[in-house]
Amino acid sequence: MLDVSVAYNRYKFLGHEFLTWLWYMIETDTQKLLDPKAELADIYIGNRIVLENNSHNRDEVITIKGDGAGLEEGVIALQKGAKVTEINLVVKAGENEWRFNLKGESLNIGGLKSPETGRVEKAEDVEGAVLEKIYLYEKAIDLTNFVYQQFIKSRVSPEWEQVVVKNISKWISQAAKS
């Protein structure tokens, strides 16, 4: 394995490709992103997406935020060669909802809002509340890891360039027309 600090910078692009692929998968094949064991029902893009375009000596950052914001500007940025560097995700399981930001280069989960737990009124309530929180955090973490595993398996496969990238390109093209 490479030195960690060297590897962080050298393979940062994988995190950006991961989130771009994730957007494509959310739009085209959501069910493949959900681990059947995790009992999650849906995943979609929340209220923020950040793209960066470093191609052709550009250094552009495109941020789209706000509930209900359209992603058209993001699609145009993809056409110009941008990749997603940060995404806000919403994950549902019945009445429960998780919202969090996922950062491509670090895979850090930020601003995670998990379903509410029971109120802590007495000292004895703390242990139960903490265990419940751990369970809820684990759902978001497991989802992130599961989805990343799907991506990386695909990324190292021979089909990546010939099939997956081709399909992503088609999707960008179609999304730009619609």
Partner: protein, 208 residues
Amino acid sequence: MGVLSSSVSITQYRVEGTIEDSFLETVVDSLTNNAIREIDNEPEDKSVGWTSLESPFKPDFSGSSYIFGTHLIFSLRIDKKSIPTKIVNKHLKMAIDKRLEQSERESLHRNEKSEIKDEVIRRLYMRMPATPNMYDLIWNYEEKLLWFLCSQKAANEELETLFTKTFKLSLIRMFPYTAAQLTGGLTDLEKDNMEKLSPSTFYRGQHA
């Protein structure tokens, strides 16, 4: 406590290595030996150490208050003092003026000024209380996983250093490369292929 906050940030780690001797006993001793040291009324500007979830200002790792099922939960505490430059300059000017008056000279040598500055900062640190920051961590010791509830670079670096020093265990931060290599479920051949990857171009022009 951070772990019960309505919104958290999480950095994932893998814990490398094992504690050979009695696990919980070793953990408690190690935490106690590396607990946060108060620096109020001291000349230091920074202190980093462990503290307990329930009593962050009086670390106590006795009993089982930090054990939650197969998880250990405690906090990294970083105490820092930061003196505004304008305050340093004011006190430095006052100290230099006083020295000049006492020595009946018109100027001081650069080394002397530097010594006075160090002494001024030392005195100011002693008078200034440190600002504490707590960051909770959740360590699943059976799965060798650790979630640090913070994504700030500096705090993560402090965690990695202190954790290794305390438990003689390494923490490997999960990011695209390490997650692929260690938890991505790749075969050895796929791992080798991954190391040769270069960026893809996603958009290849208009499609019919």
